[in-house]
C-alpha cells in the first residue's frame, strides 16, 4: 500500500498513519503545519520496520489551491500512490457553531465542499492509473438529523452521501471508496467534551479502518458498536427523535 494521509498528524489520522507505517506501508503525510508534519513524519519513519523515509507536504483543506501541488509531491515521493486517506476535518459543538457564523461557514466549507474537491482531485489521479482506494472520515453525526449535532452532522451527511455515490459509480472501474463513520473517539478534537458510553480510542479505530481498507468495505463504523447504535437511531420515528435529547 502506498498511502497519502491528509490529517495524519493528529488524532485518528495520527494513529492510522503510525499503524500503516508500522506494518510496512509507504506513507506520505499531508497537513497544514510544516513543523508538525516533520514531527509526525519522523514518528512514522521510526515505526516503519525497514525505516522507510516518510515524506510530507503542506496541504490545507481551507485552501483548495494547495491540493494539486500536495498530490504531485505525494505522487513523486511514492512513485504513484494507490490509497488516499482523509481524516482531516473541522469540529464544533452545536452551541459554538450557532454562536459563530464565521466558524460555521468555515466548517461547512471545509467538511463538505473542500473535502469533496480534494477527493475529486485524488480520484481522477488514481483512476487514470486504473484505480485505488479512497478512504474518507465522515461521522455517525451524518446518519440522522439530531439535536446536538445539527450543523456538524449536516456537513458530514453531505459527505457520506457523496462517498456512497462515488463507490456505486466507480467501484467497477477500480476505485474503492470507503466511508468511515467514527462515533465518539477520545482525541485532541473531543478533549474536554464529556465522553458518552462506547467512547473509542484512536488506536482501535485505526486498526479497524486498516482492516476495512484491506477488505475493501464501503462503509465502516468505529468502534464497531456504533453500527448497532446508529441502526437503532436510524429506525426511530420522527416523533421519537423530536422528544429525545440525542
Amino acid at each position: 500500500m502506498k498511502a497519502v494521509i491528509l490529517g495524519g498528524t493528529k488524532g485518528m489520522g495520527r494513529a492510522l498513519a503510525r499503524q500503516s507505517a508500522g506494518r510496512g506501508d509507504a506513507v506520505f503525510l499531508l497537513g497544514r503545519n510544516e513543523a508538525d508534519l516533520q514531527r509526525s513524519a519522523s514518528d512514522c519513519a521510526a515505526r516503519s520496520p525497514d525505516s522507510k523515509t516518510v515524506g510530507h507536504a503542506l496541504c490545507d483543506l481551507e485552501d483548495p489551491d494547495s491540493f494539486a501541488a500536495a498530490l504531485d509531491a505525494a505522487d513523486e515521493a511514492l512513485g504513484g500512490f494507490d490509497t488516499v486517506i482523509v481524516t482531516a476535518g473541522m469540529f464544533g459543538t452545536q452551541e459554538q457553531l450557532e454562536a459563530d457564523t464565521v466558524r460555521l461557514r468555515a466548517l461547512l466549507t471545509v467538511n463538505f465542499a473542500h473535502t469533496i474537491l480534494f477527493c475529486e482531485a485524488a480520484r481522477t489521479r488514481m483512476m487514470e492509473r486504473g484505480g485505488g482506494v479512497l478512504c474518507v472520515f465522515s461521522s455517525v453525526a451524518g446518519d440522522r438529523g439530531r439535536k446536538p449535532v445539527v450543523l456538524y452532522g449536516a456537513s458530514k451527511a453531505g459527505l457520506s452521501a457523496y462517498l456512497e455515490g462515488l463507490d456505486h459509480r466507480y467501484r467497477d472501474a477500480g476505485l474503492v471508496t470507503i466511508c468511515v463513520k467514527p462515533g465518539f473517539v477520545r482525541t485532541g478534537m473531543t478533549e474536554g467534551l464529556k465522553p458518552p458510553p462506547f467512547a473509542g480510542e484512536p488506536g482501535a479505530v485505526a486498526s479497524r479502518v486498516l482492516g476495512a481498507i484491506d477488505r475493501k468495505r464501503p462503509q465502516i463504523y468505529a468502534p464497531a458498536i456504533w453500527a448497532w447504535v446508529m441502526w437503532v437511531i436510524r429506525l426511530m420515528p420522527r416523533f421519537v427523535m423530536r422528544r429525545v435529547g440525542f
Partner: protein, 472 residues
C-alpha cells in the same frame, strides 16, 4: 537519523502558531466540569486533566504536567486553588532514533508501553524500567525512576542526554548535563516543579534477546534475604524480591528473592515473547474485601506457591519486569478509600540490621500490607532530589485508614533516625518537617528552582504540602 525530518528544526514561533490555530478547528472546547482527580492510590481531590497534542500550546499557562498518573500520591495533582493539570499523553511522537548511537528523542507524553511495543521487537530496550510500563517519558524523568538494575545502571536520569523544557518565563530551553546543567539536574527527579518537560532524549540499550534468565529462591527470613540480595548484586545485573511482612518471629521477612539477566540468544526461545492478555479489576472492591485475614492468606499463598527452594529458567520479560501490569486497574482492590505506598531507602550506614529493624517496627505498628518489595540500591544519582542512594529500598502498600497519617509519621521518624529518605513519587502523607530532616539536598534544589522560577509558578498538591509552596 530516521526519516526526512530533523529534530533540530526550529519549531514554529508561538505567535505564528496561534494565528494558524484561529483559522480552522482546534477551538478551545467547552470544558467539562471540574471533577475529581487522584494519583494511582485513588485518594481523590477536585481537579481535572486537560490534554492537547501540542505540548507547547498546552503548557503555556499550566502549573503542572501529568502523564499517566501512576505516581501514587499527590505528585501529579493540582495545587489547592488550581483546577487543571496539563495531561501530556496525547503528545507521544518519536522524533528521532539513531540505531548507531542508540539515541532516542520523543515527546514527553510517549508511554514506556508504546515505546517498547515499537522498539523491543527490534532488540532495543530502555536502560532503566520502573515496575510498570504505564508511565510516560516525562514522568520517568520527573520521578527519576529506578529499576531492578539500579545497582548497575543507576536511575533513568543517568541515561538522559537532553530535555526540552518550557520554563517559568515562558521561554523554551534545551538543557543537557552540560548546558543549563543546574536546570537539568534539578529536573531529573524534580517532580515536574522546575518547568514542563516537552521532549526527552536518552540512550537506549541493545539486548541480546527479548527473554530473561531468572533464578528465584525461597528465603526463610530477612537476614537470609539480605545476605542473598547482597551476594546476588555482585554477580547479577538485576535483583529484587518480595517479602511477606506479616510473618513474624523466626519467619520475619521470609520471602522470594529473584535475580535475573537477559537470556543469551542460545538459551532464549526463538519466538518473541508475545504480549500477555490482561484481565482487569472491573470495579472498586468493597472496603471489607481487604482485611488482615485476606492479606495474610494472599501472602501465605504467594510464599507457598514457590514450591521448590530454588527455581531457574527462561522467563517472560513482562512477568519479570512488570508483573502487576498483567492486572489492569489493580489499584481498585484497595476499595473506595484508596491506598498509599510507603517507599523508603535506608543507607548502608544504617547497618546490616536496618531492614530487620524496619520490619519489626512495621509489625508492631500493624500496617497490613500485601507483599513488600525490598531491593538494594547503588550509588546516589546526580538528580538533586533523586530518590535512590547506596543502601536498601523498601516499598509497601498501605490501605488508607483513619490512622494512616500516624503510621507514616512513625515510619518516617524511624527512617530519619537511620539517615534514609522517602520517595516523593509514592508519597501522600509525609510532613514537611520530616521531609526536610531527610533531605539535605532540599536547599540546593530550591535554590535552582527559584533561580528558574522565582515566583514558584510550577507547583503541585504535593509541593504545597511538603515544600510550603504558595496556594492558588
Amino acid at each position: 537519523m530516521l526519516g526526512s525530518a530533523s529534530m533540530d528544526t526550529p519549531s514554529v514561533p508561538p505567535k505564528a502558531l496561534a494565528k494558524r490555530e484561529s483559522a480552522i478547528a482546534e477551538p478551545a472546547p467547552d470544558r467539562t466540569d471540574v471533577g475529581e482527580i487522584g494519583g494511582w492510590g485513588r485518594v481523590m481531590q477536585p481537579g481535572r486533566e486537560v490534554r492537547d497534542e501540542n505540548l507547547e500550546r498546552l503548557t503555556r499557562d499550566a502549573v503542572l504536567c501529568r502523564g499517566l498518573g501512576r505516581s501514587y500520591g499527590d505528585s501529579s495533582l493540582p495545587p489547592p486553588g488550581v483546577s487543571d493539570v496539563a495531561g501530556t499523553t496525547l503528545a507521544d511522537r518519536v522524533l528521532s532514533f539513531d540505531p548507531q548511537t542508540l539515541s532516542l528523542r520523543a515527546e514527553a507524553g510517549l508511554s514506556l508501553r508504546e515505546l517498547l511495543r515499537v522498539f523491543f521487537p527490534r532488540g532495543y530496550f530502555v536502560p532503566v524500567t520502573p515496575g510498570t510500563t504505564f508511565v510516560t517519558l516525562g514522568g520517568m524523568v520527573a520521578s527519576d525512576v529506578h529499576g531492578k538494575n539500579h545497582h548497575c545502571a543507576g536511575t533513568f536520569g543517568e541515561h538522559v542526554t537532553a530535555l526540552k523544557m518550557r520554563v517559568a518565563d515562558g521561554s523554551i530551553v534545551e538543557c543537557t548535563p552540560e548546558v543549563h546543567s543546574d536546570l537539568f539536574w534539578a529536573t531529573v527527579g524534580g517532580m515536574g516543579l522546575t518547568g514542563h518537560i516537552l521532549e526527552v532524549e536518552f540512550t537506549m540499550v541493545k539486548v541480546p534477546s527479548p527473554w530473561i534468565y531468572m533464578e528465584s529462591e525461597r528465603v526463610p527470613n530477612i537476614d537470609a534475604y539480605m545476605t542473598g540480595l547482597a551476594q546476588a548484586a555482585e554477580q547479577w545485573p538485576m535483583t529484587m524480591g518480595w517479602i511477606d511482612c506479616l510473618s513474624s518471629g523466626d519467619n520475619l521477612g521470609r520471602g522470594i528473592l529473584m535475580r535475573g539477566r537477559w537470556a543469551t540468544p542460545q538459551e532464549a526461545p526463538e519466538s518473541f515473547p508475545e504480549p500477555k492478555k490482561r484481565p482487569g479489576v472491573p470495579f472498586v472492591f468493597p472496603q471489607f474485601a481487604l482485611n488482615p485475614l485476606s492479606v495474610k492468606l494472599f501472602n501465605e499463598a504467594f510464599y507457598r506457591k514457590h514450591l521448590r527452594k530454588q527455581a531457574s529458567g527462561i522467563t517472560h520479560p513482562e512477568a519479570f519486569f512488570w508483573p502487576l501490569d498483567a492486572i489492569l486497574d489493580w489499584n481498585r482492590i484497595y476499595g473506595p478509600k484508596g491506598f498509599t505506598q510507603y517507599q523508603c531507602v535506608l543507607p548502608k550506614s544504617a547497618g546490616p540490621q536496618a531492614a530487620r529493624r524496619f520490619l519489626e517496627l512495621l509489625s508492631t505498628l500493624g500496617g497490613a500490607s500485601f507483599l513488600c518489595v525490598i531491593k538494594d540500591c547503588g550509588a546516589e544519582g546526580r538528580g538533586l532530589l533523586s530518590f535512590p542512594m547506596d543502601g536498601i529500598s523498601i516499598a509497601l502498600d498501605i490501605p488508607v485508614r483513619d490512622d494512616t497519617q500516624q503510621l507514616v509519621d512513625k515510619l518516617n521518624e524511624h527512617v530519619i533516625d537511620d539517615g534514609g529518605r522517602i520517595y516523593l513519587t509514592k508519597d501522600n502523607y509525609t510532613r514537611p518537617e520530616h521531609f526536610a530532616a531527610m533531605e539535605p539536598r532540599l536547599e540546593a534544589f530550591m535554590e535552582v528552582r527559584k533561580r528558574w522560577d522565582p515566583k514558584l509558578r510550577f507547583r503541585s498538591a504535593q509541593s504545597v504540602r511538603i515544600f510550603g509552596d504558595p496556594v492558588g
